[in-house]
C-alpha cells in the first residue's frame, strides 16, 4: 500500500510470478551486481511484506539488498524498516553498522557516517568495506583529489582488490589523467587476461591520450578485445577509428599506412555486417545502416 492509501497493483499480479521467482530474481540481481534499484525495491518490498516467513535465512541478505536499493530511491521508510530488522537480528555486526553508515550518507549526514566507519575501523582496521565507504563520501563531496589519494593508499595495502583498481581508473579518467588511468587498467588486464572489457577500456584510454604511439597501442588492444569477444562493438568501432587515424597520419611509412588501411577496411566490413545482422529491415534501422555506411565512406575519403 502506498502511504496515500492508493492500492497499487502488486508485482506478482502484474507479472504473474510467484514468490519463489521473485526471490530468484533478487538473487540473480545480487549475483550480477545490478543497480536496478527501482525494480529491486518493487520486488523486494512485496517479497518482504508478504512472504518473509517463507524466505528462511535468505531473508537477511534480501533485507540488505532491498535496504541499499531503497536508499538509491530515497525510500528512507523502507530502508529504515530493513535496517531495524537487521539490527535486531545482528546487534553487534560491523556489516550492519556499515549499512547504518550508508543510510546516513544517503541523508547527506557525512560527518555522522564517517564516525560510524571510524568506529568500525577502530575495532577492525582491516575492514575494507568501511574504508571504501569513507572514500565514497569523499567522492560524493566532490573531493576527487583526496578520494584518489585515499584510494591509492588503500590499494598499497589491498593490491588485489579489482573493484578498487577499476574505481581508481574511473576517478583518473574523470580528472583527465589518462596515463594513471591506463596504469590501473594494466593492473586489471594482468590479473584478468581474458576480460575483453578491460582490454577495450584500456584501448579507449590510450586513444584518448593521443599521439601516434598511443594510437598504435590502442589499435592493438582493440584488436585483442575483439579476439576475446568478437561481438564487442566498441572494440570493432575502436579498431576502425584507430587504424583509420594511423593510416591518415603523415608521419607513418607507406607500409604502416597500407597495413592500417587493411585493418580499417576489415573492421568496416565487419561493422556493416553487424548492422545488417541486427537490422530487421525496419525504416529506422535502414537509416542507421545508411548512416554507418556513409560514415565509413566519408572516412575512407579523408584517408586516401
Amino acid at each position: 500500500m502506498l502511504s496515500n492509501g492508493k492500492k497499487m497493483a502488486s508485482v506478482s499480479d502484474m507479472y504473474d510470478v510467484g514468490w519463489e521467482e521473485m526471490r530468484d530474481k533478487l538473487r540473480k540481481w545480487r549475483e550480477d551486481n545490478c543497480r536496478n534499484s527501482e525494480q529491486i525495491v518493487d520486488v523486494g518490498d512485496e517479497l518482504i511484506s508478504e512472504h518473509s516467513s517463507k524466505l528462511g535465512d535468505d531473508v537477511w541478505i534480501i533485507y540488505e539488498q532491498v535496504m541499499i536499493a531503497a536508499l538509491d530511491c530515497s525510500r528512507d521508510d523502507l530502508a529504515l524498516t530493513c535496517l531495524q530488522e537487521l539490527r535486531k537480528q545482528f546487534p553487534d555486526s560491523h556489516r550492519v553498522k556499515r549499512l547504518s553508515g550508508m543510510r546516513l550518507e544517503a541523508l547527506e549526514r557525512y560527518d555522522e557516517a564517517n564516525k560510524h566507519y571510524d568506529a568500525i575501523l577502530q575495532d577492525d582496521p582491516t575492514n575494507t568495506a568501511a574504508r571504501k565507504r569513507k572514500i565514497s563520501i569523499l567522492k560524493a563531496q566532490g573531493k576527487s583529489a583526496e578520494a584518489i589519494r585515499e584510494l591509492n593508499e588503500y590499494l598499497e595495502q589491498f593490491v588485489g582488490d579489482q573493484e578498487a583498481w577499476h574505481e581508481l581508473s574511473e576517478l583518473y579518467i574523470n580528472e583527465h589523467d589518462y596515463g594513471k588511468a591506463a596504469f590501473c587498467l594494466e593492473e586489471l588486464m594482468m590479473t584478468n587476461p581474458h576480460n575483453h572489457l578491460y582490454c577495450e577500456q584500456y584501448a579507449e584510454v590510450k586513444y584518448t591520450q593521443g599521439g601516434l604511439e598511443n594510437l598504435e597501442l590502442s589499435r592493438k588492444y582493440f584488436a585483442q578485445a575483439l579476439r576475446l569477444n568478437n561481438r564487442n562493438m566498441r572494440a570493432l568501432f575502436g579498431l576502425y577509428m584507430s587504424a583509420s587515424h594511423i593510416a591518415a597520419s603523415p608521419k607513418v611509412s607507406a607500409k604502416v599506412k597500407k597495413d592500417n588501411m587493411k585493418y580499417a577496411a576489415w573492421a568496416a566490413a565487419q561493422i556493416n555486417r553487424a548492422y545488417k545482422l541486427a537490422g530487421h529491415g525496419t525504416k529506422e534501422s535502414k537509416c542507421s545502416m545508411k548512416a554507418v555506411e556513409e560514415m565509413l565512406e566519408s572516412m575512407q575519403i579523408t584517408m586516401s
Binding site: A203, T208, S218, R234, F237, E284
Partner: protein, 204 residues
C-alpha cells in the same frame, strides 16, 4: 542566436538523466537546418527539435564520442538536421556547471554551428512534476561559456513540455529510453527512440 527547446527535446534529456540517477549522462541537441541565412535572422531563436542521448557513466573518453558524433552527423544530413547543442547532467546533484568534457564537445560542435549551446541539467531540481524548467543554458561569449537566464521563452511550449515530461517520468518511460551506449551494447537498440517519440506525440 539563442536556442529554444521543443517538448520532445526537453523531455528526452530529462528522461535520460532520470534513467541513470547515479551516473553522469550526456547527449546532443539537433535543430532543423535553415535553408538560407536570412539577413534579419539575428536574435531569432534556433529551435532544437530533438536530442540524441549519448552516454552514461564515464563521459571523458574519445573514441566512442567520435563515432557517435560522426554517425549522428550523417543521420542529421539525411533528415535535414544540424547538431546545434550539447547537454550534460553531472554525476553529483550539487554540481550543475559545465566541465572540460562539455566545453570540448561544444567547441567541436561550434566548428559546424557557430551558435552552439551547452544545456546543463540541474539534478538537484529533478522532480516528478517538474513545474519549473530544470536546465541551465550556456552560450559562448568572448571565449567563455556564460549562463543565460532560463525563461519560458526558452521553450517552444513550456506548459506542454512540462505536462509531457511529468507524465513520462511518472510512467517510468525512462526505462525504455535508448542512448548510444545502449546501442553499442546491442545494435538493435535504436538511439533515435521511436517509441518514446511516439509517446510524446500521443501526449501532445
Amino acid at each position: 542566436m539563442p536556442i529554444q527547446l521543443t517538448s520532445q527535446a526537453y523531455c528526452k534529456m530529462v528522461l535520460h538523466a532520470a534513467k541513470y540517477p547515479h551516473c553522469a549522462v550526456n547527449g546532443l541537441l539537433v535543430a532543423e537546418k535553415m535553408k538560407e541565412k536570412k539577413k534579419d535572422s539575428h536574435g531569432e531563436p534556433v529551435l532544437c527539435v530533438d536530442c540524441v542521448p549519448l552516454f552514461h557513466g564515464t563521459l571523458a573518453l574519445a573514441p566512442m564520442l567520435e563515432v557517435a558524433l560522426t554517425l549522428i552527423d550523417t543521420w542529421c544530413k539525411e533528415n535535414n538536421y544540424v547538431i546545434a547543442g550539447y547537454y550534460q547532467a553531472n554525476e553529483r546533484t550539487k554540481d550543475p556547471r559545465p566541465n572540460q568534457v562539455a566545453e570540448k564537445v561544444a567547441a567541436r560542435i561550434s566548428e559546424n554551428f557557430s551558435d552552439a549551446a551547452i544545456v546543463m541539467v540541474d539534478n538537484s531540481r529533478l522532480t516528478m512534476s517538474c513545474f519549473e524548467p530544470i536546465v541551465h543554458i550556456y552560450d559562448h561569449h568572448e571565449n567563455k561559456w556564460k549562463s543565460r537566464e532560463v525563461t519560458f521563452d526558452c521553450f517552444e511550449d513550456w506548459s506542454e513540455a512540462q505536462k509531457i515530461t511529468s507524465a513520462l517520468l511518472e510512467g517510468r518511460s525512462y526505462e525504455n529510453l535508448i542512448d548510444f551506449d545502449n546501442h553499442l551494447d546491442d545494435l538493435r537498440n535504436d538511439w533515435t527512440n521511436p517509441v518514446i517519440n511516439k509517446s510524446v506525440l500521443d501526449l501532445c
